[in-house]
């Protein structure tokens, strides 16, 4: 049952940030509410004040610049990302990620910022954005700051947002040459939450032979979307071969911190991490070979 609250509809970002600083821990932000309302219905979250940022124009945009890369405002809907021709051209992995996220209805109203702020370790955008080396811009009433999105997730449903702070924007740098990013999630019913997911980004040298950078991120296999850095390091400077791939995905599975629940045992999640890592690294590598 949702408890009563005072509804605040700020007309601009400045007003929203002022409310946030005024009401501190008594308030919550609502974007699309696709995660928040379920928590409120279950009585897990009962703010006294609800600040509605859904319609703030300053936070709803998708811009691309050949130097600064992609900038997505926090209240951009999943569906807008899914349908964006800019994103299709420059970051198609985001399109694929969105197409398998929840349902069209949820994507029509839910926001990317809301998803990231909710920090569900099984969330889809987190791993992909980390693989894309994204940063997030955060603001409070007085100042703005940015951080690598990797550092944004702290624990289950806990982010680096401090009291009075709001997520403003996600920035994704221009894709380096000879780079490809891929993502896949494992589930039983399509579009449902991942049992385990893996995002992988591979950058090759100009000849397309040796790996110069690797980012492998596990979803739903740790309290936060987790980069498996030891596994990544095994790839840097190397050419791809089956033996190396086997070692890398085994390492990734060791670095995972999965839990057991009714959907999978810990062992199976580790195994899925291994299987998916192998597939994603291989796919990303092949795509990077033929990319510009």
């Amino acid at each position: 049952m949702i408890r009563d609250f005072v509804y605040l509809g700020p007309s601009c970002l400045k007003e929203a940030l002022t409310f946030l600083s005024e009401y501190k821990d008594k308030c919550k932000i609502i974007g699309g509410g696709q995660s928040l309302l379920i928590l409120m219905r279950q009585g897990l979250v009962s703010p006294e004040y609800l600040i509605d940022i859904k319609h703030l124009k300053e936070l709803n945009h998708i811009n691309f610049d050949s130097k600064e890369g992609l900038k997505i405002g926090a209240t951009t809907t999943h569906r807008a990302i899914e349908k964006s021709s800019l994103i299709k051209e420059h970051f198609p992995v985001l399109i694929k990620m969105e197409q398998n996220l929840a349902s069209i209805q949820t994507r029509n109203w839910g926001t990317i910022g809301g998803n990231l702020a909710h920090a569900d370790p099984a969330g889809d955008p987190g791993p992909v954005l980390i693989a894309l080396n994204a940063t997030v811009k955060i603001a409070n009433k007085d100042r703005e700051r940015t951080m690598p999105i990797e550092e944004f997730f702290l624990d289950y449903f806990e982010t680096a947002l401090e009291e009075g702070e709001l997520l403003l924007e996600i920035q994704i740098p221009v894709t380096p040459p000879k780079t490809a990013t891929v993502y896949e999630k494992f589930n039983i019913i399509k579009n449902e939450q991942a049992i385990v997911s893996v995002a992988a980004s591979i950058t090759l040298d100009n000849n397309g032979l040796n790996c110069t950078d690797a980012r492998i991120v596990l979803g739903a296999a740790a309290p936060i979307p987790k980069r498996v850095k030891e596994a990544e390091q095994m790839l840097v400077g190397q050419k791809l071969n089956d033996g190396l791939l086997d070692q890398v995905c085994k390492k990734a599975s060791e670095e995972a911190e999965p839990v057991a629940d009714i959907h999978a045992t810990e062992e199976y999640r580790r195994y899925l991490a291994q299987v998916l890592t192998k597939k994603m690294v291989k796919n990303a590598w092949k795509q990077a070979e033929v990319s510009a």
């Binding site: 019913i189 399509k190 009714i262 999978a264 199976y268 195994y271 899925l272 299987v275």
Partner: protein, 758 residues
């Protein structure tokens, strides 16, 4: 000329326009003046004594109008197996003891739903927790906690079916196989959750709008538990948003809403949340299966012995029937010279297990058909061939149990074999598995102890030719409303649009036992046909008087034309003869009455449907994940009445039965269901569905209206077995533990690889 004018043609469902325009009013939608909202407080313990309930704080909350507990009831232990009082063991609002997590202990009525929910937190219940037991094999042991006083070692019901001599059969056998299976539970997941609006008025009459599969049962059970006269209760259920076996017993929404309304003389509405729906309604009976089977080396079936433990949950419910039917359908659809079945239903401190589409037969079919493929494989016999060799046939008598009057099983096997051949060589990691089944068209046993005919109908013909059809059956989506209207139209010789249907209201409708056990098409259908024939006869008397034919000529009505059958051009319009008939009989409308109760039709059912299903599935060898590609079903439901409905029932059955096979489960921890929501409980959605194909095999069942039998419940039987067989043929592993999750497949594959290496 087409054989039938109305039946066996695709027609618009007569509830269609109401449903696609959002005008169909379900009990979920009912709102009355002065209506209050109710909520139910439920036990957090799987087994506990109720020492005291203090409702004073809740009653003082502003906006709360009443709180009731077991003390406000007559304390009647009710149950649906009324004929056996010892099996009537459920109070609903328990007075002294709770036996499962979720059992109701109190109910509140308030001016809005949120207030009612708040009030629940203010009710103070003092429990004395008792030791609990969750596994039937544990519950049956000496010294296990006892749930019910009269059930020693928690044995609720036992069933024994036997013919021939299995030991002799095993002696003759060239090959014997033993297998153990675990059949999981499953939840109905009706889209409309259980709910009721109860209104007790100062004239001491109770009206209950509810979502049900049997308004008659609810009327009788409410009368019994509330101490009212049956016909001082009116139960209304015009539209039911899904049933699947969950909605023909008295439930907590109906009982508590009625109780509260009787106290307040105001309407009270209770709608169960999805979580309550999962934990505190009823569910499919989980079963532990042992099968020992003996065959000749050429595949001839000789002897089968089955032993089953079912996890009964806290109360009998309809579990006794599931126990019997699983033992009966274990022997279907084959000729077994020797058979023995022993079933034990054991009380456990879990949500009661009861009836769900298939009623014990999907479990039986899964175990039987999986084992048959294993036997066939061991002996090097083709899976279709071994089934063909032993298939039931029209005229077969299941010794002491049933007569099979119509049976298209052989033809179903032929059709499926044809399709499998057409698929050619399958790619790697793909397999096709089959399962054959049979199912009942309504049950014979009067466990409810009704004095009425099992189904009745009335037809009234009005001056403008419009026909009022009164039926007792309940349409929960399976299309019985349209099917009955089609039968009436066919028999009377009119069109669907000439019929005005009356159903779902105990004040108006004749008694029918309800939509369960696949009984409507055969039983209600027969009653409708009889009533329509009686009305037609009265009309034809006047047609005969008008046409004055030679005595050797018979008359009939087809497509609104009353005519000589031998000379169809000689006739009179239906509308004209109706006018004559009514005028000629003192201005009285023409009334026809019909009824049906199976007499001397064996132990189980008057007729049986049959079918064979093939499932084509892929396995991902890296993850064990299963993808459904194709599902082809050849089935015999006698004469098809409503083809769109049959196809819909088949496709819906596949979704539900495939779910039973590989995605749906109700895992519990100490009696607590761990996934009581639609995020964690996985039903199939559109992207998981295979391509489906239905092949009708037409037979004629003398017992059914126009030769029709059931279609819809039996179709749920084969899919889990066909799927396990598909996996067996794709990957060489046989999984006997439902649901077949990717993890189980992967573990089985690894085990197989390990064995190879050894």
């Amino acid at each position: 000329m087409k054989k039938y004018s109305v039946i066996n043609s695709p027609v618009h469902n007569i509830d269609g326009i109401a449903k696609v325009t959002g005008r169909a009013t379900y009990a979920f939608d009912v709102k009355l003046p002065s209506m209050l909202y109710g909520k139910i407080l439920r036990s957090p313990y799987p087994h506990a004594k109720i020492l005291n309930i203090d409702t004073s704080k809740a009653e003082r909350l502003n906006g709360v109008k009443a709180v009731v507990t077991g003390k406000d009831t007559l304390g009647i232990k009710q149950g649906i197996w009324r004929r056996f009082k010892e099996l009537c063991d459920e109070e609903i609002l328990s007075r002294s003891k709770v036996r499962y997590i979720g059992e109701p202990v109190a109910a509140v009525a308030a001016v809005d739903e949120d207030l009612a929910e708040e009030a629940l937190d203010l009710i103070e219940v003092e429990y004395e927790p008792l030791a609990a037991v969750f596994d039937p094999v544990e519950a049956i042991k000496e010294g296990a906690p006892q749930l019910h006083e009269n059930a020693e070692r928690n044995i609720n019901v036992t069933r024994h079916i036997e013919w021939g001599d299995v030991e002799e059969g095993f002696k003759e056998a060239d090959y014997i196989r033993e297998d153990w299976f675990r059949c999981s539970s499953q939840h109905h997941v009706c889209m409309e959750t259980h709910n009721a609006v109860a209104s007790y008025t100062p004239d001491r009459k109770l009206t209950v709008w509810t979502s049900t599969q049997s308004h008659y049962y609810i009327q009788v059970l409410l009368a019994w538990t509330l101490g009212l006269r049956e016909n001082d209760i009116r139960v209304i259920s015009r539209y039911t948003g899904g049933g699947f076996g969950s909605k023909f017993e008295l439930d907590s929404a109906q009982f508590c809403a009625s109780l509260l309304s009787m106290k307040l003389f105001r309407p009270v509405k209770i709608v169960l949340t999805r979580e309550e729906e999962f934990i505190a309604t009823k569910r499919r009976t989980p079963m532990f299966y042992y099968l020992r089977t003996g065959v000749k080396k050429d595949g001839t079936f000789l002897a089968k012995e089955g032993r089953v433990f079912t996890e009964g949950g806290a109360y009998t419910s309809m579990g006794a029937t599931a126990l019997y039917l699983t033992g009966f359908f274990q022997a279907f659809p084959y000729v077994w010279p020797n058979y023995r079945y022993d079933g034990y239903r054991v009380y456990t401190n879990t949500e009661p297990s009861s009836a769900m589409r298939g009623f014990g037969a999907p479990q039986a079919t899964f175990a039987a058909e999986t084992q048959i493929d294993l036997i066939a494989n061991d002996l090097g016999i083709d899976p279709i061939e071994i089934r063909r060799k032993n298939a039931m046939y029209a005229g077969y008598e299941v010794p002491g149990q049933a007569w099979i009057q119509s049976c298209g099983l052989r033809e179903c096997l032929d059709k499926v074999e044809e399709w499998i051949k057409s698929r050619g060589k399958l790619p790697l990691n793909r397999g096709i598995g089959i399962a054959a089944y049979g199912f009942m068209s309504g049950g014979i046993f009067n466990w409810f102890d009704t004095p009425y005919a099992f189904s009745s109908a009335m037809v009234k013909v009005n001056i403008d030719g419009k026909v009022d059809l009164y039926i007792g059956s309940q349409d929960m989506g399976q299309g019985s409303n349209t099917t009955m209207a089609m039968i009436c139209a066919e028999e009377l010789g009119i069109r669907l649009e000439d019929i005005r249907l009356h159903m779902g209201d105990t004040d108006i409708c004749p008694v029918d036992l309800g939509a369960w056990g696949s009984r409507e098409t055969l039983m209600q259908g027969n009653a409708v046909k009889m009533a329509s024939a009686e009305a037609k006869q009265q009309i034809l008397e006047f047609a005969a008087a008008k046409l004055a034919p030679n005595i050797v000529y018979d008359l009939d009505i087809k497509d609104r034309w009353a005519h000589l059958i031998a000379r169809p051009e000689r006739g009179i319009s239906y509308y004209d003869v109706v006018i004559e008939a009514i005028r000629g009989r003192d201005g009285q409308p023409i009334i026809g009455r019909g009824h049906y109760t199976p007499h001397r039709k064996g132990m189980i059912s008057p007729a049986y449907s049959f079918g064979v299903q093939a499932v084509e599935a892929d396995i991902d060898p890296d993850t064990g994940k299963i993808s459904l590609i194709n599902c082809v079903t050849a089935h015999d439901c006698g004469q098809v009445i409503n083809p769109l409905a049959v196809e819909g029932q088949l496709e819906g059955a596949i979704a539900m039965a495939a779910g039973y096979g590989f995605t749906e489960d109700l895992p519990m921890d100490e009696g607590k269901i761990l996934n009581p929501n639609l995020v964690d409980y996985k039903v199939l959605r559109a992207r998981e569905m295979p391509e489906t194909k239905v092949i009708e095999v037409e037979t004629y069942e003398p017992e059914g209206p126009f030769g029709a039998k059931e279609a819809g419940e039996g179709l749920t039987n084969p899919t889990a077995g066909a799927l396990s067989n598909a996996i067996f043929h794709a990957a060489g592993v046989s999984i006997k533990n439902l649901p077949i999750t990717p993890e189980k497949v992967l573990n089985a594959l690894r085990e197989k690889d390990d064995k190879k290496e050894q």
